[in-house]
Structure formats: C-alpha cells, structure tokens
C-alpha cells in the first residue's frame, strides 16, 4: 500500500510529528489474548495529531492495514522523503481535519513498527520471540488500542476509521466497545475474508516459510528471509491492483530494454514493478509479522465472535453511526462484502450510509487521492460531530 505515498500536492501537512510509546501489561498483569495466552509487557507505538479539546469529544482513532504503521500523516524530520501513509486524508482541512479532530493511530499488535510483535524481545528468553509469539487476533489488536485510548483519558471516540484490515478493526471496535464508538468509517473491508483472500494470504505465507533463511521463524541472529517476504509482498500487490489498472499502468511494456532478454530478468514493467515493491518492503517489514497479521485477518469473523453466526445479531450491538465505502474494481474485498455489512446494520436497526465509489485502482483505491472519498469522510464526520454537540 505504501508505494503511493507522496507529498501532498497542495503542500498541506500536519508537519513534524513524533512517534510515542506506551508500555503496559507488566507481569503479573499481562494482557490476556483471545487465544488464552498471556502477553506482557506490551509496547504500543502511537502518534497523535491535532489537539484534544477540553471535553475530550473530538478524538478520532485511525486503524492501519497490513503494512501500515502509526505514522498516518506528517513527517518525522524536515528532510523525510515521504509523509505518513494517509497524509492525503489526515491533515489541516483534509478529509479527517486535524484542525478539528484529535487523531490517534497506533501500530497494531503483532506488527513490527514499534508495537510488540514477533520481532520484539521475549522477556523470558531475552531474545526475539519469533514463533514463540502468541497468535493475536483482530480483537486483541483492538484491545491494545483500547488500552491506549484509556491511557489518553478518552472515554468516547468520535470516530474510528480505517480500510482493509484496518476496516476489520473498525468493525470490531463498534461491537466490542459499542459505548465508546460514536461513529465508524469502514473502507474496502469485510467481516470475514473470502476463501480467495485466505488463499492469497496462504500462498504469501508459504513463500516466506519456504525461504530457507526463515529457519522456523528464528532468523533474527542471521540473514532474514528477504526473498520469501519479497515474494509474499509481490503476491499482495497483485491483489491490490486490478486487471484494468495493471493494463493501464504497465500494459505489456518492457522495462529499460527494447527486446526480450531471453533469460529470467525482469523484462516486463509489471515484473520490474513487483520486484521493486518486494525489495522495498523487506527493508521495512518483518517476515514473521507478515505471517501473524495475515493469519489474524484470515481468522477474523465478526458474526461468529459477536453474533453466534448471525451478522445482524452482531451489528445490533453496535451504537455507532456507520459510513461504509467500497470501490468498484476492488476484487480482494469486493463490494458485495460491504453491502452485506450495510444490510446487516440496517436490519439490526442501525444508522448506516453506503457509497460504492467508481474507481479503477482495485483494493488500493482507498489509499489514493480521491475527492469523493475525502468529501464523504469530511461530510460524515462534520455531521456526526455537530449532532453530538447539539
């Protein structure tokens, strides 16, 4: 998802931001995970933008997807080559306006961008967890975020927003902590992965685990399974695009050459693009985190966890006002999945708006500049916040 990050074309930004850390769950008060395992101490890396108002009613939690992190917007240093991953949406006057709202984002549990995950030190061995790290769920990620929200002294979130696996966290928030969530923005997401989505994740995981350098997950002392992780990322990137967007973006054009190489170099632009994405990814991401997060997403099933199999019953617990958005060319999280969410909220008596945005860029569309999406989010949030003030 991150290859699209660019400086805001209007030069508007929240400016310099800082990553902070919260540590909790020291033994014997470890965090109890859904699997029953205990985890602690737990570090959460997070960032905030904008100011929390006096009555603490303007807090917005943004949830990131598979490869994101707490760095939603702005820059760490003056000379940072790139801003945070959703800089186009979060900032002064943007869809999520940091002049009005206090925006929070934390790295998810199991991640590798500062929050405790498989690459963190296992206190009982003094070495990285590797596969000794317990399996975490979307619910566990939300529980960790809840600790952070409590720590910040916020007892009601004006809005929880996110796309893809971030959208799963959004949906989970609305039923896990219904009293806390006043509104929810769920983009390009689902209550449960389709077999197709699980299949791609499994192929990606196998690519990592088949890399001899993976070493059963205990590779932290030596070379890392870069090739496996790069292939996993390449698979991911195929699923984030669409046939149409690939045709438009690459066609059958060759990369820096006039004729075929007649060997296995990257001849086509699309090959070169995928290799480049894979290479860039291994520089910043941990292979085991990839395994854990994709597994958490595959396990996720909101209706099973909160509605005894009934999605209507699950959403009838939610008190939030919802905005659900899907994108026409997204075949990884197709529109029918969003429509299922919308129908369930409706049947459960909840308030929901839904828009299917015409976009060519596949699943990635939710991260790309899109005036309609910005307008929808801006309008939705303004009205939620004004109806609360009333």
């Amino acid at each position: 998802m991150s290859e699209y990050i660019e400086h805001d074309s209007d030069g508007i930004s929240v400016g310099l931001v800082e990553k902070k850390h919260l540590i909790f769950g020291h033994p014997p008060n470890q965090m109890r995970l859904e699997s029953g395992a205990l985890l602690g101490p737990v570090t959460i890396a997070y960032e905030t933008y904008g100011e929390l108002n006096a009555d603490k009613s303007n807090a917005v939690l943004v949830c990131h997807a598979l490869s994101g992190d707490s760095h939603v917007a702005g820059y760490y240093r003056e000379d940072d080559p790139k801003p945070g991953w959703w800089d186009i949406m979060v900032g002064p006057g943007k869809g999520i306006d940091t002049e009005k709202y206090f925006v929070i984002c934390s790295n998810i549990l199991g991640g590798c961008m500062g929050t405790t995950g498989p690459s963190s030190t296992n206190p009982s061995t003094g070495r990285p967890y590797g596969l000794d790290f317990p399996l975490v769920t979307i619910g566990d990620m939300v529980d960790a975020q809840k600790v952070l929200v409590d720590h910040l002294g916020i007892d009601k979130l004006l809005c929880v927003a996110g796309g893809s696996i971030g959208g799963m966290q959004v949906l989970e928030w609305t039923v896990r902590h219904p009293e806390l969530v006043q509104s929810a923005i769920a983009l390009a997401t689902t209550t449960k992965h389709s077999p197709l989505a699980i299949a791609f994740n499994e192929v990606a995981r196998q690519a990592i685990m088949a890399d001899p350098k993976w070493m059963g997950g205990h590779y932290y002392d030596g070379p890392r399974p870069d090739h496996g992780l790069a292939v996993a990322r390449m698979i991911g990137h195929i699923t984030y695009l669409s046939e149409e967007s690939m045709r438009a973006k690459f066609g059958r054009r060759l990369q820096n050459r006039e004729a075929f190489s007649y060997n296995f170099d990257a001849d086509f632009q699309v090959e070169s693009y995928l290799r480049h994405q894979g290479q860039k990814f291994v520089e910043r991401f941990d292979a085991n985190s990839f395994l854990y997060i994709t597994k958490a997403a595959d396990y996720y099933e909101l209706e099973r966890d909160h509605g005894r199999g009934s999605i209507v019953e699950a959403f009838s617990k939610a008190k939030a006002k919802f905005l659900v958005v899907s994108f026409t060319s997204d075949w990884l999280y197709p529109s029918y999945q969003s429509k299922t969410i919308v129908q369930a909220i409706k049947r459960g008596g909840g308030e929901v708006s839904f828009c299917e945005i015409e976009a060519d860029w596949g699943h990635d569309a939710f991260l790309l500049p899109n005036e309609r999406l910005s307008n929808l989010i801006r309008g939705f949030m303004e009205n939620v916040s004004s109806s609360i003030r009333r």
Partner: protein, 209 residues
C-alpha cells in the same frame, strides 16, 4: 386557489406538500432520495429519523455530505432488506415512473411502512396533451423535461391511471393532492378543478388494506 409559498425552506413545492403530511418524529424512508433535499428538510423541521436509498453515486455523496444516512443501491433490491413496519412513512417521490415493477415496489412500500407517499409527474397535463395533439412530438414539459431517447422515465403515469392502478392492485388511497408548480418549482398551487388536465404532479398518501 391561491398560490402557496412556504416560508424560506427552499425545497420544491411538491416536496413541501409531502413534508406537510408527515408527523414530527416519524421514521421515514425516502426511496430514490436524490440529493436529499426532502430528507434534510424533514430532519430539520420534523425531527424525523430518516434514511434514503439512491442509485446515483454523485447524489449519494451529496446526501452524505448533508449528514443524511443514505445507502447507494437499487430500490428494488434494497427495499426487500427491511423488516415489516420498519417505517411510519415510505416516500416514493418522482421515482415510480422509473420503476420497472411499480406494483411490486408499492406492495413492499406498504409492507415496510405504515404509509406510503407516492408522487409522480402527471402525463395527462394539458400541455403534454396539446404537444402531442398539435405537434405530433412526444411531450417535453417542465415536469417531464426529457426527450424520448434520454428519459429515465420508463413509465408514463397519469393521475387517472394511478387511481385505477391502485384500485386494481388493491392499494388504499387515503389522501390525494394534485399540484401545479411554478417554473422554479418552489411555489405552486393545489388543483381542485380538473386535476388530470391541470396538475403537473399527483401526490398520494397510501395505506394498508
């Protein structure tokens, strides 16, 4: 009948009539809600719990920007998703003429709502009749502003047709108003004499059998 002008609310005259029928605090569903002018008005002035269905993405965006709960979708499908008596009023304003199976939609309207409110452009207005009679061209009027080849209106309805249709399909008409509107459609008058000939719109309050 004198010209009615509702103070400073800015919505179309036919919508003003519809709004006047709705009791404050009701649950309202607007099928084919367009850019949400009626729903916004009803929320502001009648404190309704309102939502809408609209198929056009651009219009849905406008609705959500207004703070309305609106779902992008096809009313024929979306209407099936609600349980019985979910609403006090289900509004089908300027939409029925674009529906493929009006009888089925109205049955669903009266299943999910206590009352249905239906309005449509009256095809038997004298201007439409005169155009067809004297020019031989399909009528193009301010309430029916399309050419035959670009009209979204797949049904041609007259006030008399709708009465007969309701009778035959077993729908109860509780109230009926025929209106003629001004050029900007913001003011108008209620037509009591010869509505089939003089009204640009027919508005009907429908009830369960």
């Amino acid at each position: 009948m004198s010209v009615l002008r509702f103070a400073d609310n800015g919505i179309r005259f036919d919508l003003q009539i519809i709004a006047s029928w709705i009791r404050p605090g009701s649950r309202v569903l607007d099928l084919g809600c367009g850019e949400g002018y009626l729903l916004r008005y009803l929320k502001d002035n009648k404190q309704v719990k309102g939502s809408g269905i609209e198929i056009d993405e651009t219009k849905v965006e406008k609705c959500i920007e207004k703070g309305l709960s609106v779902i992008q979708g096809d009313i024929n499908e979306e209407i099936l998703e609600y349980s019985d008596d979910s609403f006090d009023y289900v509004i089908v304003s300027q939409t029925l003429q674009q529906v493929y199976e009006p009888a089925q939609v109205l049955r669903e309207v009266l299943r999910i709502g206590r009352y249905g409110i239906v309005s449509f452009p009256n095809f038997s207005h004298w201007k439409a009749r005169a155009q067809l009679l004297f020019t031989g061209y399909a009528p193009v009027t301010k309430s029916l502003p399309y050419q035959w080849y670009d009209t979204p209106n797949i049904r041609v309805i007259t006030i008399k047709d709708f009465r007969r249709f309701s009778h035959e399909a077993g729908f109860r008409i509780l109230k009926e108003v025929a209106v003629a509107t001004s050029e900007d459609q913001k003011e108008g008058k209620i037509i009591r004499m010869l509505p089939p000939l003089r009204a640009s719109y027919g508005i009907f309050l429908m009830g369960k059998k």
